[in-house]
Structure formats: structure tokens, C-alpha cells
């Protein structure tokens, strides 16, 4: 079965969900509380069965988590973002939907300090367990750093 053209999918999603904003380049922004439902819909109704990429960016006032989901054997790929409060950086885990998130979310947690709710094994992955702070945050300070 071949999915609809990407533009059609995006238009359909836009008309179905008023909360959705789509940039010129097709980047979708979803409110955090709608994220799980939206992603579930993508997977179940639009066959986005492959979670390619999970990452996050720090904008000092807030974080953004970024997801790229694709369809295996098909060129479609979507770029989805959600804004996360910096004081309470908690987002729902995508592991129940796509197992491929398991290490990628751990990496984001480790380096950016965003917690993924209901992740089965949220531990640091690249740094020591007793490491303090999250290096990819923009305000991360370290001794001997040569930033700027």
C-alpha cells in the first residue's frame, strides 16, 4: 500500500488538528500535551513506522525536542518539534511507540537533561553516572572549557 503524498498528509493533519503549526519548510510544531496522541496517529493511521531521529536543542528560555519519523521503504519523512519548559523538562517517552527511541532518548537525557516519562531505562549513557550537569545545555560551565 502506498501512502498519500506528503503535502496531502500535512494538509490533512493541519485541518484535523488546530493546534498544529507548520513552517514553510514543513517543520511541524505540536504542543507538548498533544504530542503522544499526535505521534500515535502518525504511526497508526499514516504508517510512519520508523523513528529515525530524536534530539533536542536548548534555547535558554525553553527546550525543543525534535523527532524525525519516516516510512520504511518509502521516501516520506516528517520533522516534528515540541517546546518544553526549561524549569520542568519532562516529555513523554516514545519508546512505547517506537523502540528505536530507547538509546536516543537516553542520550538526550544524558547530555541535555530532559526527562522522558515512562522510558523503561532512563540512565546516563555516554557520561559517568555521577557526572554533574548536562553538557549540551547552553549555560553549562566547565573548568578549562575554551568556549568563546
Amino acid at each position: 500500500m502506498s501512502p498519500k503524498p506528503l503535502e496531502e498528509i500535512i494538509e490533512e493533519l493541519k485541518s484535523k488538528h488546530q493546534y498544529l503549526t507548520v513552517s514553510e519548510t514543513g517543520i511541524m510544531t505540536v504542543p507538548l500535551d498533544k504530542l503522544v496522541g499526535f505521534m500515535q496517529e502518525l504511526r497508526d493511521n499514516y504508517h510512519f513506522n520508523y523513528l529515525t531521529n530524536v534530539t533536542a536543542a536548548d534555547y535558554l528560555d525553553y527546550f525543543e525536542v525534535i523527532y524525525n519519523v519516516s516510512i520504511v521503504e518509502h521516501p516520506h519523512m516528517l520533522h516534528i518539534k515540541a517546546r518544553v519548559e526549561r524549569d520542568n523538562p519532562v516529555v513523554p517517552s516514545m519508546v512505547p511507540l517506537w523502540g528505536g527511541a530507547i538509546w536516543q532518548e537516553r542520550e538526550v537525557y544524558d547530555l541535555m537533561g530532559i526527562k522522558f516519562e515512562s522510558h523503561p531505562d532512563l540512565r546516563r549513557i555516554l557520561l559517568d553516572d555521577d557526572w554533574e550537569g548536562h553538557p549540551l545545555r547552553k549555560d553549562y560551565q566547565w573548568e578549562g572549557g575554551r568556549e568563546e
Binding site: 519548510t25 517543520i27 513506522n49 520508523y50 523513528l51 529515525t52 531521529n53 534530539t55 536543542a57 536548548d58 525534535i66 524525525n68 520504511v72 521503504e73 518509502h74 521516501p75 519523512m77 520533522h79 517506537w98 523502540g99 528505536g100 527511541a101 530507547i102 538509546w103 536516543q104 542520550e107 547530555l111 546516563r124 549513557i125 555516554l126 557520561l127 559517568d128 553538557p135 549540551l136 575554551r146 568556549e147 568563546e148
Partner: protein
């Protein structure tokens, strides 16, 4: 009477030849059987994503070599491809062809390490010597084109660093003429070897559903019969101009994961020959400003690296340095499945299974 043993923990690595770098697996064993596995990466973590934030866009290129240092060309490509997408830069045709040539050479070089090291992992160290003999030819070609063997930093935003030097094309054709006979040799030495087959066939069978669910990519995914290769599915650069096939496995066992790589090398030879035959004249660098300063915005782009989908996410704040760079590394994501993959297998199989994923720790840790 059955003998019960107590479970015990065994540390495999961090410095074990079969971990292909510094990587530790904490195995919980019941006798020789793996009950569970706790993969522990991070020993080679250098914070490349953080470093990139304090370098200019061009200065980031050499860091990408150090991710998958066995296929540095492809890592360069993934990064410049994303920046080009961010800035809407058009790359001249000749540069795209050169990229395909060196990229596919890098794929072969990387698969040669995978093949040889894998033979070594399951007990046949001779294979290692043979594949490294032939990898040398590719390293010589890289040295000709950019002066470096392992860390080329050859790609530039908008093209490549230099044009092809004199004598490169002839040497490249020579290699293409020779290489199929080398593959035959590997098939005789490794693929057809009974012990090798006994160690790899029907070991750690990975279903297509699991492979997709766990976002596995590259030969590991295709060995399970999933036809997902970005060069075909979402052709970037000039891949749509070449005829080649995407080799698939039927079973998804360790043997398939090994053999798909052998078949992919044959296809790469085909691609390089076509690219050399069609190589157009023209500039090797597009219209790119001296100082790279993308408008504020973001982009995510992917290429098919030797180990799977290499994705790069770049955010620009309008300055000369990237605000955020993220590398989606295929080895890293592929390893996320290791625990489940190892459960129930014997300790000797652990090496065969880990080797079949073909990880490189520079890329896992970033």
C-alpha cells in the same frame, strides 16, 4: 539430574578486541547462557556536538571524520549535506560525482574492515589480513586525493576540497578491475568456510518487524529483508543516475548481516565504475560565500552511510557558528537493540552477534 549454577556477572571489554573499540558489555550469565546484557558505551565520548557549537561551519568538518573513522568520507558527506540543505546551496555536478566515487570507496573500505574483523571475531584471523591488504589500495587513493588516509576532511560545504589529481582515475579503474577477484577470495576463505557458517547461520535471527521497530538501519536492517536504502528510496546527490541493486538478506541472521556487506561491495564497484565513466567536467565547488553564515533556521538531512542512516540536524542562529548540531549515528541506534539480541545466546555467540552489527565506537560515542 540437572545442574543449576548461580548467575554471575562478566565484564566483556572495555578493551576487548571484539568490541571494535572501547566498549563494555556487562553480561549476566547462567552458565554459558546470556540472561541479560547491559551495553555500556561512553569510553570514547569526546563531546563532538558541543565542540561544534564553538567552531565555524567549516571547522566542524574535521570533527565528522572522527565519528566513523573507518568511513570518514561518508561522515563528511552527511554533515555538509545538512548544511547545504540549511543554506539551499547547489552543488556542481562534478563535485557530486566525485562525492559518489569517494563515498562508495569509503563504503567498501568500511565493509572491508567489517568483513575482516568479523572473520577474526569468529576465529579466522586470516580474513583480517586479506581484507586489510585490499583496503590499503583505497587508502592510497584517498591519500592521492586529499593527503589523508583515515581522516580525509575532503568534502566542503558546496562541493569538495580539490579536484581529482592526475592518475587517480586510472588507479581507481585498476582497483575496480582487481577488486571482484578479491571478493571471490573472501568468499572462498570466509563465506564458504564451514566453521564460519556454523558460527553465524541461524544465530540471532532478527525479524523485519523488530528491525523496523528498533529503528535499525544499514546492512543490519537490510539483512532482515527490509528494502530500505536511502540511495534508492530517497536518492540524494546523483544516485538516481546509477544502476545498482540493494542486496537483501532472507533470514536476518548473523550470516546474512555479514553477506549483505559482501554483496554491497559488489554494488559499490558497479556504482563507482558508472560514476567514473560519466564523470562530467566543470567546477568542483558551488557558489558559496567565503564566510559561511546561514540565515537563522534549521535542517535535518540524511545519507546512507556504510553502517546505516547518518542524519545530521543543524540549527543556525544566523551567526558563523552552528547553534546546535546533532549527529544521528547509525551504530549508536543499532546498538540499542543489543540487549534483546543477546539474550538466550551462548557467550561465544556474543562476539559473533556484536561483530555482525558492525559498530565503530567513535561513532557510537560521538
Amino acid at each position: 539430574m540437572t545442574i543449576r549454577t548461580e548467575e554471575f556477572l562478566l565484564n566483556l571489554g572495555p578493551q576487548h578486541p571484539s568490541t571494535h573499540g572501547v566498549f563494555r558489555i556487562l553480561l549476566t550469565l547462567d552458565g554459558e547462557t546470556v540472561v541479560k546484557a547491559k551495553p555500556i558505551p561512553g569510553y570514547l565520548h569526546r563531546g563532538i556536538e558541543k565542540l561544534a557549537e564553538s567552531r565555524t561551519y567549516t571547522q566542524v568538518i574535521p570533527y565528522t571524520d572522527r565519528l566513523d573513522y573507518l568511513a570518514g568520507m561518508l561522515m563528511n558527506w552527511g554533515y555538509v549535506h545538512a548544511v547545504e540543505k540549511l543554506m539551499n546551496i547547489e552543488v556542481p555536478e562534478r563535485a557530486e560525482y566525485i562525492r559518489v566515487i569517494v563515498g562508495e570507496l569509503a563504503r567498501i573500505a568500511s565493509h572491508l574492515v567489517a568483513t575482516g574483523a568479523y572473520a577474526g571475531d569468529v576465529g579466522g584471523l586470516t580474513g583480517f589480513i586479506y581484507t586489510f591488504r585490499d583496503r590499503e589500495d583505497i587508502m592510497d587513493l584517498f591519500e592521492m586525493i586529499c593527503g589523508a588516509r583515515l581522516t580525509p576532511s575532503y568534502m566542503r560545504i558546496g562541493g569538495v576540497a580539490d579536484d581529482i589529481p592526475e592518475g587517480f582515475i586510472e588507479k581507481c579503474y585498476q582497483f575496480l578491475d582487481y577488486f571482484p577477484s578479491a571478493i571471490e577470495e573472501y568468499n572462498g576463505l570466509i563465506t564458504g568456510n564451514e566453521i564460519f557458517q556454523a558460527r553465524t547461520k541461524n544465530v540471532a535471527i532478527l525479524s523485519a518487524e523488530d528491525a523496523i521497530r528498533m529503528s535499525l538501519s544499514g546492512p543490519v536492517l537490510r539483512a532482515s529483508g527490509v528494502n530500505y536504502d536511502l540511495r534508492k528510496v530517497r536518492p540524494y546527490s546523483v544516485y538516481d543516475r546509477f544502476e545498482f541493486e540493494v542486496p537483501l538478506g532472507t533470514k536476518g541472521d548473523c550470516f546474512d548481516r555479514y553477506y549483505v556487506r559482501i554483496l554491497e561491495m559488489e554494488q559499490s564497484v558497479k556504482i563507482i565504475r558508472q560514476a567514473l565513466d560519466q564523470l562530467p567536467e566543470g567546477p568542483i565547488r558551488g557558489k558559496v560565500p567565503k564566510v559561511i553564515k546561514p540565515a537563522a533556521g534549521e535542517a535535518y538531512a540524511e545519507i546512507e552511510s556504510s553502517k546505516g542512516i547518518m542524519g545530521v540536524y543543524v540549527v543556525s542562529d544566523g551567526s558563523t557558528k552552528p547553534y546546535r548540531v546533532h549527529f544521528r549515528r547509525p551504530s549508536f541506534v543499532n546498538l540499542g537493540y543489543l540487549d534483546e539480541m543477546l539474550r538466550g545466546w551462548k557467550i561465544a555467540d556474543v562476539i559473533a552477534i556484536l561483530g555482525s552489527i558492525d559498530i565503530v565506537l567513535g561513532e557510537v560515542d560521538a
